[in-house]
């Protein structure tokens, strides 16, 4: 469990560099090109975080699936924490350029599967996790208050319901 806590901390460190890069890119007078190195550094940190939570590749299953072992799924008790890290990583990959889009989609799909949040009004699962992921510290507008990673509960605390079976 505590190894996984490190994963969360590393992911938030990654968020710091993503935020730096995004702020640099959007600040008028700073050239507007952003900090490409910052995104690369964030990606490196996220890669470490993904290894720590046991999902070096995008999982095609969740822990309670029959084929979980084949998909390299995140541990059942890490499902919620993992989903947000996976969604954030997908966002970072998308920011890296068009050549990473397919990979990003795999991670986003894994995140949506792990999150499974019915009850978000008219938002579907993928929207819910993407929306929550935006709130972890950095990128995007409007999602500032979406979620806070809580190490004690091993989940992102949100203002919305997160209690549901992992596979609908």
């Amino acid at each position: 469990m505590f190894f996984c806590l490190q994963g969360l901390a590393v992911a938030v460190s990654g968020d710091v560099y993503t935020a730096k890069a995004v702020i640099a890119a959007r600040t008028p007078g700073a050239g507007g090109v952003g900090d490409g190195a910052g995104i690369m550094f964030a990606e490196g940190l996220y890669r470490n975080a993904l290894k720590m939570i046991g999902t070096p590749r995008p999982p095609s299953a969740t822990a309670d699936d029959d084929d979980a072992a084949a998909g390299g799924a995140a541990r059942a008790d890490l499902r919620l924490a993992a989903s947000v890290i996976h969604a954030r990583y997908a966002a970072i990959l998308k920011a890296s350029g068009p050549q990473r889009v397919a990979e990003a989609e795999d991670w986003a799909a894994a995140a949506a599967k792990e999150w499974r949040a019915p009850g978000y009004g008219d938002m579907d699962d993928a929207c819910a996790v993407a929306w929550a992921a935006r709130g972890i510290g950095s990128v995007g507008e409007g999602g500032e208050k979406a979620a806070v990673h809580d190490m004690t509960l091993m989940m992102p605390v949100t203002l919305h319901n997160t209690r549901f079976p992992p596979r609908g």
Binding site: F3, A9, D15, L80, M151
Partner: protein
């Protein structure tokens, strides 16, 4: 560990299992019932600690409320999380703005909670050498966590409020983990994890602040560009905001690094980790 601390630890463990969903039910079947039993037991133990005028009893009550808040957050019960964190907030920082609308807020407040926030804060600090030190620090952290999320009021108000609570939680967790008191040995181990959690929370709050401020700064700048003359006031405001963005990013970076260091110090091997073993012990003993 005392009874409140044991039940808080067990309730948190059950809350974690509940949040993770039914796939973890093999490790903790009936998580919701177990969680409720321990929450009620923590409340009872806290109420038996003494009257409302006793700082020690109030601190116990705060520890139990922290577990209740965390459990509500895990279960997605926003109303219960709100109620628990509001009580922690009002007991430690005084009445919130909403209750200030009354004509005699001080009077109203003192009727609800006879003990002043100053006395409670002193008792929280003193609790670091007690078996429930970590549970109290956790309660304040949980309150900060919810304040950072609360979308009812202005974001900047939330940031200032959450930051104050995080700072308080950090000092409480730090004192608890540094405690050399024999009776606080188990609490010191739990407080290590709470400290890491607080640092992580502060990093996230600072990041959110930086991104929000940078967004507002852009808005001001783009508004300024459209005018023919830039006013001195706007230039100053933008400079000030730029400074605050840099400060917030620096805080985020150092807090995230501190969280990582604290996590690494916790150790990586789940099976051998004494905290996990003691948690399982607590759970097995108290059901």
């Amino acid at each position: 560990m005392d009874r409140v601390a044991s039940h808080v630890a067990a309730a948190l463990n059950a809350a974690r299992a509940l949040a993770a969903g039914p796939s973890t039910s093999s490790s903790l079947p009936d998580a919701e019932r177990v969680m409720d039993v321990h929450l009620d037991a923590a409340d009872t133990a806290a109420s038996e600690a003494g009257p409302e005028t006793d700082p020690h009893a109030v601190v116990m009550r705060i520890a139990a409320l922290g577990a209740r808040g965390a459990a509500a957050m895990a279960a997605g019960d926003a109303a219960a999380a709100d109620a628990a964190t509001r009580e922690i907030f009002e007991r430690t920082l005084g009445p919130s703005d909403e209750s200030n609308d009354d004509t005699s807020p001080g009077l109203e407040f003192s009727r609800t909670y006879p003990l002043s926030p100053e006395a409670v804060n002193a008792a929280v600090v003193a609790a670091s050498d007690k078996p429930h030190g970590a549970a109290v620090a956790h309660a304040i952290k949980q309150c900060a966590q919810w304040s950072a999320l609360n979308d009812e009021s202005d974001l900047y108000v939330d940031i200032v409020q959450a930051d104050a609570l995080y700072a308080f939680a950090e000092s409480a967790a730090d004192a608890a983990r540094e405690s050399e008191h024999v009776s606080a040995a188990a609490s010191a181990m739990y407080a290590d994890a709470t400290y890491a959690d607080v640092k992580l929370g502060r990093a996230q709050l600072a990041l959110r602040t930086a991104v929000r401020l940078a967004g507002d700064m852009r808005e001001i700048q783009s508004g300024e560009d459209s005018e023919s003359e830039s006013s001195e006031f706007v230039v100053e405001a933008v400079e000030e905001m730029g400074k605050r963005v840099r400060e917030a990013l620096a805080t985020a970076e150092s807090s995230a690094a501190a969280a990582l260091t604290a996590c690494e110090a916790l150790g990586g091997e789940t099976q051998k980790d004494p905290r996990v073993v003691s948690l399982l012990f607590t759970l097995a003993r108290s059901i």
